[in-house]
């Protein structure tokens, strides 16, 4: 327990975590390996940091029989991570708008987009963080759209390379 508290204090200090920071994750398993091979950058999943009562949480979406869109504690998000990276936004984020949008998405019970398509009623992980960032800043987070099986998708790498993160 002490180790976990120390770990959270350390990363809070090192990364000056803030609402709107973006967290990238890689896990040490075959599925994570496969996802990280699409437009490779070393990470397979992404979420957005939300600070609630001075504690770091992550809003993210992935396929789950019970609930796809979740806000979970940062330590739970990183439970099986083999590597991770956190980048902070370098433009102003409207926290009030962000909070409203997060609550709206949770209320709608948005589903994980297994078709990996833009412009439908579902979201995949990078699409979720881009959507929230756009609502809160007016700027798209992705740096390019990647051509994947004859469709344009937002990849983890295109978020990692965003000019609005540092």
């Amino acid at each position: 327990m002490k180790k976990i508290v120390f770990f959270l204090i350390l990363i809070s200090f090192v990364y000056s975590l803030q609402t709107g920071s973006i967290i990238f994750r890689k896990e040490n398993n075959l599925l994570s390996d496969l996802f990280s091979q699409i437009d490779p950058c070393g990470y397979s999943h992404v979420g957005m940091i939300i600070i609630k009562n001075k504690k770091p949480f992550v809003i993210h979406i992935e396929y789950d029989k019970k609930k796809d869109l979740r806000i979970i504690p940062l330590k739970k998000f990183l439970k099986n991570a083999s590597s991770y990276k956190i980048l902070n936004p370098c433009i102003k984020i409207n926290n009030s708008v962000l909070k409203t949008e997060v609550n709206l998405l949770l209320k709608k019970n948005i589903k994980f987009d297994t078709d990996i398509k833009l412009n439908n009623q579902k979201l995949y992980c990078t699409e979720l963080v881009d959507f929230l960032f756009y609502q809160a800043s007016g700027k798209h987070l992705y740096s390019y759209l990647y051509n994947f099986k004859n469709r344009k998708i937002i990849t983890v790498r295109s978020i990692l390379k965003s000019k609005y993160l540092n």
Partner: protein, 135 residues
């Protein structure tokens, strides 16, 4: 009386041999059999030893490597495409996390001779232990 005892012993032997032939329901079995399903293309094993969430995410990834026709008619071939580089799987350790969860660490030996460590979170369901991995 003697017949009765012999019948009981015989029934016991049958039960013993029956359970001995089956695979033990454990975190280790679930992780190994799940990974082996990518080597052998055993779709039943893939389904038996993974949760529906895990199956759905793998189906998504298989669709990037496999044709629609093979996905529908020959899913075993698609599994083998994912596990094409795997030569052998060994269990390194099993860390139990409460009664219903465990993390199985596996050593994968690849066909080019390289080895790598993989971690398989497994969970106990009403149908036995199943791999429950996220991306």
């Amino acid at each position: 009386m003697k017949k009765g005892i012999l019948s009981l012993i015989f029934a016991g032997l049958i039960m013993f041999s029956a359970t001995g032939c089956g695979k033990k329901d454990s975190p280790k079995t679930a992780a190994v059999e799940f990974m082996n399903s990518f080597v052998t293309g055993d779709v039943d094993s893939f389904k038996k030893y993974s949760t529906q969430d895990t199956q759905a995410l793998f189906a998504l990834m298989m669709a990037t490597k496999c044709s629609k026709e093979d996905m529908k008619n020959n899913p075993g071939k698609c599994l083998k495409l994912i596990g094409a580089n795997i030569k052998n799987i060994e269990v390194v350790k099993v860390d139990k996390n409460g009664e219903n969860n465990a993390l199985v660490t596996l050593k994968e030996t690849l066909k080019n001779g390289e080895t790598k460590t993989t971690q398989m979170p497994v969970t106990k369901t009403k149908d036995g232990w199943k791999v429950y991995i996220k991306k």
